[in-house]
């Protein structure tokens, strides 16, 4: 290849040293990344590969559509519930089922609590070690750490010098034991880490605090869904009936005690995000604001479907509290509407994916998708089919398909939502962005970066926690007004269904725009397709050689040490990759698939 320029504006040069990272860790699922570095250790070519495939939609074929949520929920246990919600929406769309207002509020509370939980756990437990050095925290002065804590977050109760000294002692004992556990073989001498010891100690302390606290956030889903991970959902509403003051309310799913519990958790969630997560992001960003790599596609093409309907059953952009729209070529003045039903808008391509199409120059809309696995390595790959040393990106190289919106590779996720929100004048988002940029003394262009992606996620957690309280209040107000309904069962019985229907459901998953497309025939699933956030972001090249968001974001980043992928991990993690989500797309031809590949 040597040097080529892609239609979406990136110059790729594969002549330099090739570095392979496999597995990429601290993500959901399995992923590989290869880059070429020039003589100054700057990334000049990037190749991202999904390395797993499960084939869930073929498994769905012929099943009861009312059960689909449970299957697709198991696409991902990290964004647990978002696939289930997308699925019940797709089935309800196909069957024309309206849900009660209370069900809408409860679903929104569950979805918003997922946003907060997922973002918080992602930042502290999957991403923080790209910015924070726990070994360096041992050098911190606990008193100075306490002063730092009190200056960045005066309302957080855990801020005494003694508290930080105790945590430091615990970390020291842990490290000195020689059994480093998850910190083993980390890159702790790499100059890419920029925090002073006190900031490292504060952040490591919050790594542990957040690990303790995150389990509380999700308990609202245990109340409404019975368990977490993987709570329960229902086509037509929610399964948790409400009984406020009737006989046997104490044994009912939702009563006053349960709602009080939800309120308590929601308030503590708001406090934790405001007092810990947001201040940490600002504090860490202060030290990294000169490191503005990783923008990739974010300054060009971003996509959001929107989510969180204020009133039930209205999925128009005006009623969605999360932004909707597509931005092309960085033109923030024009936000395009997105139609998930239009066969010309969302299409998936496979010339660089391990699947086969009759005509691979063309893309297919999810309702008409074909998925036939076709695992093969290109002529320039090194190694063998079961021991890959180096991939050949001029051929097929990933279990992820390449979705495109009107032919464009798009970035999705919190940053995409914030950019669309900023462009459409979403008041809350815009205000948050302006305050953050002003606190850091950065221009708007700084948004289009790894740091921007990480910050947008935190801002969104703050928004989501507040909106969770909004919907709890709304739920209670509606019950007070005399409506205790939680499920519409008029069309629950398959005997009431038309013989052939199709539908689409969408959400904004924590990682970005998520759509499920379903066809139902004679009460069974005829075809089921998911196009998920990491399929967009982790997409390989398409027939025109456009690169996807992961690959674009790594371009032109300087690595401090070629053998230590700190910067690669930092930028890939800023997307919060979810590979189990992205690599399972399936189609009508499923049954053949089961036999084609048996060896």
């Amino acid at each position: 290849m040597a040097t080529i320029t892609t239609p979406n504006g990136f110059t790729l040069d594969d002549s330099g040293k090739r570095v392979v990272v496999d597995p990429v860790t601290r993500i959901e699922g399995h992923m590989r990344c290869e880059v070429n570095l020039d003589e100054s250790n700057v990334i000049r070519n990037a190749v991202s590969t999904g390395t797993m495939w499960r084939g869930l939609e073929v498994i769905l074929k012929g099943r009861d559509p009312r059960d689909a949520w449970a299957f697709v929920q198991r696409i991902c246990g990290v964004c647990t519930g978002t696939h289930a919600l997308t699925s019940v929406r797709a089935v309800e769309d196909a069957l024309g089922i309206d849900i009660p207002e209370n069900a809408n509020s409860i679903r929104n509370i569950m979805q918003l609590s997922l946003q907060v939980h997922d973002h918080l756990v992602h930042f502290y437990h999957l991403h923080a070690l790209d910015w924070v050095n726990p070994v360096n925290a041992l050098k911190a002065d606990p008193k100075a750490t306490s002063a730092l804590q009190q200056s960045v977050s005066p309302h957080h109760p855990k801020s005494s010098p003694g508290y930080f000294r105790d945590v430091q002692t615990r970390i020291r004992k842990f490290i000195e034991s020689g059994q480093l556990g998850p910190f083993k073989n980390g890159y702790w001498t790499n100059p890419a880490y920029l925090l002073p010891p006190e900031a490292d100690l504060m952040a490591v302390t919050h790594y542990l605090e957040a690990l303790d606290f995150q389990k509380e956030i999700m308990t609202v889903r245990t109340i409404f869904g019975g368990k977490d991970t993987h709570p329960n959902w229902l086509v037509g509403g929610v399964p948790c009936a409400i009984n406020m003051d009737g006989a046997m309310a104490a044994g009912a799913p939702i009563n006053m005690e349960r709602l009080n519990y939800v309120r308590s958790v929601t308030q503590r969630t708001i406090d934790f995000v405001n007092n810990v997560y947001i201040p940490d992001i600002l504090a860490i960003a202060q030290f990294y604001k000169g490191w503005l790599y990783g923008g990739g596609l974010s300054g060009k093409n971003v996509l959001a479907y929107g989510d969180i309907p204020d009133r039930a059953n209205d999925y128009s952009p005006e009623n969605l509290m999360m932004p909707h729209g597509a931005i092309i070529n960085g033109n923030l003045k024009e936000v395009h509407p997105v139609d998930l039903r239009d066969p010309e808008q969302i299409q998936e391509f496979v010339p660089h994916s391990w699947y086969k199409y009759p005509d691979e120059a063309k893309g297919l809309h999810p309702w008409d998708g074909i998925t036939e696995p076709n695992y093969e390595l290109g002529p320039n790959a090194k190694g063998t089919k079961t021991n890959i040393l180096q991939l050949d990106e001029s051929a097929k190289y990933s279990w992820i398909k390449a979705p495109r919106w009107k032919g464009h590779a798009m970035e999705v996720g919190p940053l995409a939502r914030y950019i669309v929100g900023y462009a459409t004048g979403h008041e809350y988002f815009t205000d948050q962005i302006n305050r953050t940029l002003s606190a850091l003394d950065l221009p708007v262009s700084a948004l289009f970066s790894t740091l921007g992606r990480t910050a947008a996620r935190a801002l969104e957690a703050q928004w989501a926690a507040e909106k969770q309280m909004y919907f709890l209040d709304k739920l209670i107000a509606n019950i007070k007004a005399g409506d205790s309904n939680t499920a519409n069962t008029t069309h629950f019985d398959p005997k009431t269904w038309p013989s052939e229907v199709k539908g689409v459901g969408f959400t904004e998953a924590p990682r970005g725009a998520l759509g499920h497309w379903i066809r139902i025939k004679d009460t069974k699933i005829e075809n089921y397709q998911c196009v998920v956030p990491t399929t967009w972001n982790g997409s390989p090249r398409d027939s025109e050689n456009n690169i996807g968001a992961f690959e674009a974001s790594l371009m032109n980043t300087k690595m401090e040490v070629a053998e230590e992928p700190v910067e690669i991990l930092r930028t890939l993690h800023s997307f919060d990759p979810c590979l189990a989500c992205s690599t399972h797309v399936m189609s009508e031809d499923g049954e053949e698939l089961a036999t084609v590949k048996v060896r």
């Binding site: 699922g29 495939w53 498994i59 990290v78 059994q179 590949k597």
Partner: protein
């Protein structure tokens, strides 16, 4: 000297006296005589952390997500003070070569003395390349590590039974741990559930560390302490089943009164798990309490045992006594003859399996 559980508790301001009291409570909770309390205390004070390699195959990470929700003990304390979680690609700092080097190092340094925990399973089709780790099939990594482990924990329904990717027609030939060709002949503890209950996961670990032995397993390889009873056996809605009071459809009067969910598809009568006893997320609730029928997620092949809203039998109009038995019989028949009825004299009829000593 590695930090011990005792030191953790001390640092949290807990005195030795309270610690010993905790230990005797723990012994009580585990059904042991108070004489065991000193033994538990000793184990927690002195034990160095056992290395754990936690591998991930085809899965959704719900087991890890469940694990970090453990209320007692906290996941933080398990990771910092009880085990040495040296490899877990979901949370480890290292990646690529530096991550894979840890496996070699652990095998060399702790051969036969570490625990292999598996989340997910290995696909065997396409020469294993539906799940690739470091350029090679995941199944190779799994088999190799198993040969050097002391024992294997199969987390969740994926590793235990195959779970969702192994549901018909199982396109990738996703295969649970114990059926992987070449897997070492080591004890395998299955902790099924999609996911398993967090506190069950951490209890299995703390039991092994505390008693320095593996928990007793039933004929299917599950710890008896958590998997010897059906959800139905201890369900708080069981009296409504016995009284013939059922939810007929979602959000009806019965649903609002917390009646039995059997008629809307509850698989509690055929599902072995601790949901109705230990409950979820620190004992807060469980699916039936929140109004949804049990979908049977800890049972082998639960995805292929009929719809989640199909009742286990079509018997209508049963009442209190004999009809409850009818239900029991039909329900037990669903699990392919593995279960039988032991008719009891009381109102509450127990359904027990031949396969274990429930």
């Amino acid at each position: 000297m590695p930090e011990t559980f005792y030191e953790v508790m001390r640092r949290q301001g807990i005195t030795r006296r309270s610690f010993l009291k905790y230990c005797s409570l723990a012994a009580g909770a585990l059904g042991l005589s108070p004489a065991f309390a000193p033994k538990i205390a000793h184990a927690m004070e002195t034990k160095p952390r056992i290395p754990v390699l936690w591998l991930h195959g085809l899965e959704c990470t719900c087991c890890s997500e469940s694990f970090i929700r453990s209320a007692h003990p906290l996941a933080k304390d398990v990771i910092l003070s009880m085990i040495s979680l040296d490899y877990d690609d979901t949370i480890m700092a290292a990646a690529g070569d530096q991550a894979e080097a840890i496996i070699d190092e652990t095998i060399e340094k702790y051969d036969g003395n570490f625990i292999l925990a598996i989340e997910g399973n290995a696909p065997l089709n396409e020469d294993g390349m539906y799940c690739i780790i470091a350029g090679k099939p995941f199944v190779e990594q799994l088999v190799r590590v198993s040969q050097h482990a002391k024992a294997i924990i199969s987390w969740g329904s994926c590793a235990s039974w195959g779970c969702v990717q192994a549901a018909r027609p199982n396109p990738t030939r996703a295969t649970p741990t114990h059926k992987i060709p070449g897997i070492a002949d080591k004890p395998i503890i299955k902790v099924p559930g999609c996911p398993p209950i967090a506190e069950v996961m951490t209890a299995v670990i703390t039991y092994i560390l505390t008693f320095e032995k593996l928990p007793s397993l039933d004929s299917q390889g599950r710890p008896k302490m958590f998997y010897s009873q059906r959800i139905h056996d201890k369900c708080y809605r069981r009296p409504h089943f016995d009284a013939g009071q059922f939810v007929e459809k979602f959000d009806d009067e019965g649903a609002r009164k917390g009646y039995c969910l059997y008629k809307v598809g509850c698989k509690g009568p055929t599902t072995y798990n601790a949901c109705s006893t230990v409950r979820w997320n620190g004992g807060l609730s469980f699916p039936i309490q929140a109004g949804h029928p049990c979908i049977g997620c800890s049972e082998d092949g639960f995805w292929d045992k009929g719809g989640f809203y199909d009742r286990l039998t079509d018997v209508h109009g049963f009442g209190i006594e004999a009809n409850a038995d009818e239900i029991g019989k039909t329900a037990a028949g669903i699990v392919a003859g593995a279960a039988a009825i032991h008719a009891g004299a009381s109102v509450i009829k127990r359904i027990a399996s031949k396969g274990d000593d429930a």
